[in-house]
Symmetry: C2
Subunit: 344 residues, 2 copies
């Protein structure tokens, strides 16, 4: 399991387009208190509102890691970046990377990290050996995001729910299963990088036994209907043993992203498909809400989408970035969980 030293210096390189800086923006939005500053290579690089710092200035202010917050074109590591990364290692920082290429593939970085005793985190990769899942029911409560597709708001929904639960005084932990989530949380497991035999075992490792009133809020991955990634989704579902599920959906999307021949299921069909698999490892599993990503819709259309989803599922429906999520938290805490929380 990845375990990253915080706080961060966010490296923005020369990115001028916010779309290239999604990782940095996600970390700034959801872990602002863990961000000491930003490092920009040119005056026209986007400014995400943090102090501009060199690696040594950041280290002096307490930074522990430089986080590569932008995606280079092609997924490789530009020559110009290596100078900065070497300076960061020399200044006492670890490096956190979500690139496809491993940082150790660059001999100068590997040598410097070894000489200085720094850690190179490749959060897209998994070097941990996980056990085969046991299927044993664990103590504590678990909430898992599932979806009708990839990339429609599972991570943001999980983070928003964690925040809302904590504000109510509930002991909740966000559990990251993808690279940006791991950077935000400072730990987690890139579940899609695990060897296939150990997906459910890794998911069991990610949310271990906990106090009866503790909630793990687990970032989902993929979709049960996805022609490429459904295996990851099912293993994560089985290993997570969720008590509660939130279905994430983008009402502006009718087919699977990048797979136009694969229509998305209706909300009702998605719930009906997920539930028996969830109940295989936790017979008490149930859906407690629907999270709609309404970013493509105007206010009126978005509200109608929420009403429609509620009418079809009977569940509280929300957009975590736009409309309140209190009703979902109420639903989650009702029924079988109420007693445990009230007793806490």
């Amino acid at each position: 399991m990845t375990d990253i030293a915080k706080p961060y210096l966010l490296f923005l390189a020369d990115a001028e387009n916010p779309a290239l800086a999604k990782t940095a923006l996600g970390v700034r939005d959801w872990a602002r208190e863990d961000c000491v500053g930003q490092l920009r290579l040119t005056p026209s690089t986007i400014d995400i509102g943090l102090p501009d710092l060199t690696p040594s200035e950041a280290a002096a202010r307490g930074a522990r890691s430089l986080l590569i917050g932008v995606a280079p074109v092609g997924g490789q590591l530009p020559e110009a970046w290596q100078t900065i990364l070497l300076a960061a290692l020399e200044a006492g920082l670890d490096i956190v990377s979500g690139l496809h290429v491993r940082l150790e593939a660059f001999p100068a970085l590997a040598e410097a990290a070894a000489r200085l005793g720094r850690t190179l985190h490749n959060v897209r990769h998994s070097d941990t050996v996980f056990p085969v899942a046991t299927g044993r029911k664990r103590t504590g409560r678990r909430l898992l995001m599932v979806g009708t597709d990839c990339a429609l708001g599972k991570k943001y929904t999980a983070l928003a729910l964690t925040k809302a639960m904590r504000e109510r005084g509930i002991d909740a932990t966000f559990r990251a299963t993808g690279q940006t989530g791991i950077m935000i949380a400072g730990g987690g497991i890139a579940i899609d990088a695990v060897v296939a035999d150990f997906i459910a075992g890794a998911a069991e490792t990610l949310s271990p036994d906990a106090a009866p009133d503790h909630w793990d809020v687990i970032e989902g991955q993929g979709a049960l209907f996805h022609p490429a990634y459904a295996g990851v989704t099912l293993g994560l579902l089985h290993g997570s043993q969720p008590d509660a599920l939130v279905l994430c959906h983008d009402p502006a999307r009718s087919v699977t992203s990048f797979f136009p021949d694969y229509p998305l299921p209706t909300l009702e069909a998605a719930i009906a498909a997920y539930l028996p698999h969830a109940q295989r490892t936790n017979p008490a599993a149930r859906f407690v809400g629907v999270s709609l990503n309404t970013s493509a819709l105007d206010e009126d259309t978005a509200r109608r989408a929420l009403e429609d989803a509620h009418a079809r599922t009977g569940l509280p429906v929300f957009d975590p970035l736009r409309f309140g999520i209190e009703a979902v938290v109420d639903e989650m805490l009702s029924g079988p969980f109420q007693a445990a929380v009230a007793a806490a």
Copy 2:
């Protein structure tokens, strides 16, 4: 994708118990024409009915690879074996291993293989980088084994069906997804060793576009109901895009092996669970038979189990090692496939 040079010299070491020599026995039973001889370290080692040969005698008779046909206690590589493996490399043979430990972990073997230009096959591991699945429908026909549990006859069923189909003149290829299957076929993909994101992509690679009347008969893995391995099963199912499915079951088993808290589904429930997932990537997918492993039952009980399974599913039911499988092949070739085969 693994591609192994045949024929084999089967290495039995000092195994006295047939249970330890399951790999060698499977290869002998299903690829007898690919076995030049056996290599036994002691007179009390089991004799599987092949000529006793040294590595150089085997090489002189055309052997291309020494296959480790026994499982050492603990999964490691005993010192005494290394001498034999080195002699095999010197004699011109590659080495085929299903051990957990990689052969390269032993410096003497790695050095000899590099110096002599031999290949060390670790069929339990996957070193190939597979693409993400595309979901694109491929040409040719596919038959996939699925099950209610692990280790109940999926490989033997696939091999027996391949044999029966070939005897009818059908162009059929066995596609191995596990280590013993790979050794028998001389190729395949250890699907459970693939990185999670690429399970379906590896399955697509395993059964590529083929002639319209060609059948790939794909060895299954795991079960959709298995608390540890369901992710592997679902990715393999999606990527295989089977036209036809055979459900494998052991009627003497009521709970999942090694997971006593997980009851097995009924045959009807298993078919109902698999079918919608299969139809996601191939809307024409249908079940064509049920394969029962009746090895634990006497003749009368076995026949009653077959009748019961037929009454409950309406499908042809067989035990590939005991009762004929012709009705399943008939069913598979009926309906939508008949025209393609008749035209062949």
